[in-house]
Symmetry: C2
Subunit: 459 residues, 2 copies
C-alpha cells in the first residue's frame, strides 16, 4: 500500500480528499463515480483512482488532468475505522488460504499484473465486510497463477484444509485463479471427506467491458458461506449473474468455467446451484451434504498416469495410443462416441494388446498393459448413453466406462483418484459408476440447461 | 414400409382404422394421443403405433392389449393424397443429400437402429409438407454415423454440393448425424465460396424423455430455408427450444452441440443465430452473407496433419510433443493459457527445436520441423486474450496464434484449411487472424451467453 502519486495525487490534494473519504470523480466524457477512496496499490498505474462503490464493487477510474474530484464526506474518525476490524471474539473462525488468484488482490488493469492481498489489513481494504461476520485469519499457501497448478498442488491444498479444520476452523475459503478453479474444487471434493464445515473456492473474473472487479463481492459471499452455512462440501462461490450482487454456490464437482471473461462465467453443469448468497444471506435451494462433526478424513492418494483427450473427426488412432498411460478420459461426441476407425485402438488400449496379439507400447516405448478408458461427452450438458447406437455398444464391449452425467474434467480427476486407491478392474469399474461425492446422478435436472437463443417476438 | 402386425394390428382392426386416418389412442396410465396414423416401418418394434401429431411431431406410442384405439376421422380419399406430392413445376429445386443421420429416418426407439428414408415417398411420409414449398430431389451420398465421418467426407460433401448447384439447385439440404454436424458445417463453410443459395445442415436429436422425434419439424424448416431464403452461407437448422416448433438458423462456423439429448442441443456460440423458422416463415434477425450468382467455388484442399488437445492440470509436456504434427489447436484454460511447465514445449513445437538445440521428433520418430500452435479456450464462450497475463504474453512470444472468439473445433478446421493453402508462416498467421467466413469477429455479442441459473425469488 502506498500513497497516490502523479495526477491522482494532484486531483486529491486539490479536493482535500484522502483515503476513506467518500469522493465524486467526474470525467470529461460525462461519466462520474462516487464512492469511498481506496488506498493506492503499488501495482496500479499512476493514473488510476480506486473507489469502492456502494454496490461493493471496487472501480479503477482512469484520470488525467481533465478529471475533477470532489470530496463528498470525510472519512470516519480514526477510532471509528476500528469498525473495519470489529472484535473477532465469539465469531466463527474462517481461514482464508491464499493460492495467488485474482481474487482478494489488487489488479493493475493496464498490465494485468496481480498482487495478492495477503494480510488482514489488505483484505480489510478490499472487503472490510468480511470481518463483520467472521474471525478471519489469512495464510498464503502458494502464489501461483491457477493455470500452473498441478495435481500435487491439489494435494497440498487438501492437507492445509485439514490442518485448519483440525485447528478449529469453522470454514475454509480458498481464493483461487479462475482458469483451473473447477479442477481444484473437484479434486478437493474427492480428497476431503467428513468435512465439519464448508470449503469454499472463490475467484474473480476480470471483466472485459468495465474496469470494476467482482473480487470483493465474491469474497464476502464466500466468507458468508464459510461462516454461516451448515454445508459439509467443497463448493465454488461466484457471481450468479452479470448485473447484480447475487452469488451462486456451485457443487465442486459440477462447476465449470464457461466464459473467458464474464463475471457469471461459472455454471453448474447437469446440476443446479446448491444455493445463493444475496446481501449476506445464504439460501440453500438444493439438497446438499451437511457438515459432520469431523475430524476431516484426508484421502489424497492419486495416480497421475491418467490423461484426457477429445475425440474429433481427423483424430489419429496413433495419437490415442501415445497419450494413454494407465487411464484416459475420452471426451467423445454426442452420447459418448468415437469414430469407428479408432475403435480397435480403444480395444487395444483397454486390453493392452493389438489385434495381432502384440503388446501395446506407450509413447516412451514401454509396454503399456491394460488401461482404463472412460467415455465422456464434449457436449458437456446431458449424459452419455452408450446403449443407444451400435458405436456406443461396441465401445462398452471394448471395455469403456461411461462418464454418465459427469463433466469430462471431473471424470478425469475421479479416475486419477480411483486408480490411486485400487488396481482391481472390477473395483475400478464399480467406483467409476458409483456416485461418491455428488459428481454424478441418475437423473440430471432438465432446467439447468439454458441457451442464449432469443426467440424473436412473433410478428 | 409394411403393414402393422401384432398388437397394433389387432387394435387398428378393432377400430376399423387405417394409414392416414386420424386416430385416438388411450393408454391405461391416462395418457392419450390423437393424430394421423403413419405407416409402420419395418425397423420399428411390433408394439409401436406411429402417429403424427398436429404439432408436426411423429410420436411412437407403445401399446399393449390394454390400450384402446378409436378412429376419429377417415383418411382423405386416395385422389386427395396426391396432395403429398404436389406438382413440382415452378417450385424452387431443393436437393437433399443424405449422409445417414437420424434425420429423415425411421428410428427404432427400442434399439436405436436408424433407417434412412431415401426415397421421396419415404420422406413424404415423414414430412409431406416439404413438397408444398419445393421441388425436392433426394440423393444418398453416404450412409454413415456422423461420428465416423472424416475430413475426406467433408471434401466429398463439398464436391456434391457444388455439383447440385451447378445443375441448378436453389438450395441444398444435408441431413446429418448430430454428433459431428457442426464440424461438417464449419468445414463446408471454408470449402465452398460464392454460394448461389443456402447449404443447410439439419439433424434430429433423439429425446431421452419422450418417444417423439424432431426430425420432421427440423427437416421442414431446413427445406424452408433452402427454398425461400436468400442466404449464401452454410448454416445448421435445428430446434431453437424444447417445447415449440421454432427452429434456429445457426452460422456453420459458430454452432456447437451443447447437450447430448435435448432437441435444442445446438447453440450458436459467441454469436446469435442468423434467424429463425416458424410455421414455414424464415425470418433473418442478424446480418448474413447473401446468395451470389454462382458458380460455386470449390476450395477443399486441407492439410490433415493437424491435431487438437485440451490443456488441463496434469497434462504431460511429452504428450503435447507426441500428438503435434504440422499444426495443433491447444484448447487452453481461461483467456488462452497453458501451464508454465508446458511453455518450453510450446516453444519447442513452434520452433521445431528443443531448448538444447536438438530437433523435435514426432511420435513416429521423424524430425518434426516447426509447427503452428493455435490457442483457443475450453470455456467455449468468450474470446482469448493473451495480452492480459504474463502466461499469455509468453505464449505469444513462443509463437502461439490466438483463436480469439473462434470455437476450438472451428479453429482446428480452419488451421487444416489454411495449411492446405500456404506454408508461408506470415501468411498462416495472417489468415488465422483474419475473419474468412464469419468464423470470428472483433466483438462478440454479450447477450448470446445464458446460464441455467435460476435466481430464487427474493424472500
Amino acid at each position: 500500500m502506498a500513497d497516490y502519486e502523479g495526477t491522482p495525487k494532484v486531483l486529491l490534494e486539490k479536493a482535500g480528499a484522502g483515503i476513506g473519504d467518500v469522493i465524486a470523480v467526474s470525467l470529461p466524457d460525462g461519466r462520474s463515480f462516487q464512492g469511498t477512496l481506496m488506498p493506492h496499490h503499488a501495482a496500479s498505474a499512476n493514473h488510476i483512482l480506486t473507489i469502492k462503490l456502494s454496490s461493493g464493487y471496487n472501480v479503477g477510474v482512469h484520470v488525467d488532468g481533465s478529471a475533477t474530484v470532489r470530496r463528498v464526506t470525510a472519512a470516519p474518525p480514526r477510532s471509528a475505522t476500528a469498525r473495519t476490524f470489529p472484535a473477532a471474539a465469539g465469531k466463527p473462525r474462517v481461514v482464508i488460504l491464499g493460492t495467488g488468484g485474482t481474487i482478494a488482490s489488487y489488479v493493475d488493469y493496464r498490465t494485468g499484473a496481480v498482487h495478492p492481498a495477503t494480510t488482514p489489513e489488505e483484505l480489510a481494504f478490499a472487503a472490510p465486510e468480511i470481518f463483520e461476520v467472521a474471525d478471519v485469519k489469512t495464510r498464503v499457501v502458494f502464489q501461483m497463477f491457477s493455470e500452473d497448478l498441478q495435481p500435487e498442488h491439489w494435494q497440498a491444498m487438501a492437507r492445509e484444509v485439514k490442518k485448519e479444520f483440525d485447528a478449529g476452523a469453522r470454514g475454509v475459503v480458498i481464493p483461487h485463479g479462475t482458469d483451473t478453479l473447477s479442477y481444484t474444487s473437484a479434486a478437493l471434493a474427492f480428497f476431503l471427506r467428513d468435512l465439519p464445515g464448508p470449503v469454499v473456492l472463490v475467484g474473480s473474473q476480470r471483466s472485459s467491458d468495465r474496469p470494476s472487479s467482482d473480487a470483493a463481492i465474491n469474497l464476502k459471499a464466500a466468507v458468508d458461506v464459510a461462516a454461516t452455512s451448515d454445508l459439509g462440501e467443497v463448493v465454488a462461490v461466484m457471481h450468479a449473474a452479470t448485473d447484480d450482487g447475487a452469488c451462486a454456490i456451485h457443487r465442486g464437482t459440477r462447476v465449470r468455467k464457461m466464459h473467458t471473461s464474464r463475471r457469471d462465467a461459472f455454471q453448474s453443469i447437469n446440476a443446479l446451484p446448491l444455493g445463493f448468497v444475496e446481501k449476506g444471506q445464504v439460501r440453500m435451494t438444493q439438497p446438499y451434504r451437511k457438515a459432520g462433526k469431523g475430524p476431516v478424513v484426508l484421502d489424497e492418494k492419486i495416480d497421475e498416469e491418467v490423461s484426457m483427450i477429445q475425440s474429433y473427426p481427423g483424430l489419429w488412432p496413433d495419437h490415442l495410443e501415445k497419450v494413454v498411460l494407465r487411464g484416459v478420459v475420452i471426451v467423445g461426441t454426442g452420447l459418448g462416441h468415437i469414430a469407428r476407425r479408432n475403435l480397435d485402438m480403444v480395444r487395444t488400449i483397454s486390453t493392452g494388446k493389438h489385434p495381432d496379439g502384440s503388446p501395446r507400447l506407450r509413447y516412451d516405448g514401454k509396454v503399456a498393459g491394460p488401461s482404463y478408458v472412460v467415455m465422456g461427452s464434449q457436449c458437456l450438458h446431458g449424459r452419455t448413453n452408450m446403449n443407444v447406437y451400435s458405436t456406443g455398444r461396441d465401445l462398452l464391449d471394448a471395455g469403456c466406462i461411461e462418464a454418465h452425467d459427469m463433466l469430462p474434467e471431473t471424470a478425469y480427476i475421479k479416475l486419477m483418484w480411483v486408480l490411486g486407491h485400487t488396481q482391481d478392474p472390477a473395483e475400478v469399474h464399480r467406483l467409476m459408476r458409483t456416485n461418491l461425492v455428488g459428481e454424478m446422478d441418475e437423473r440430471s435436472p432438465v432446467d439447468e440447461y439454458a441457451t442464449g437463443h432469443r426467440l424473436p417476438a412473433p410478428q
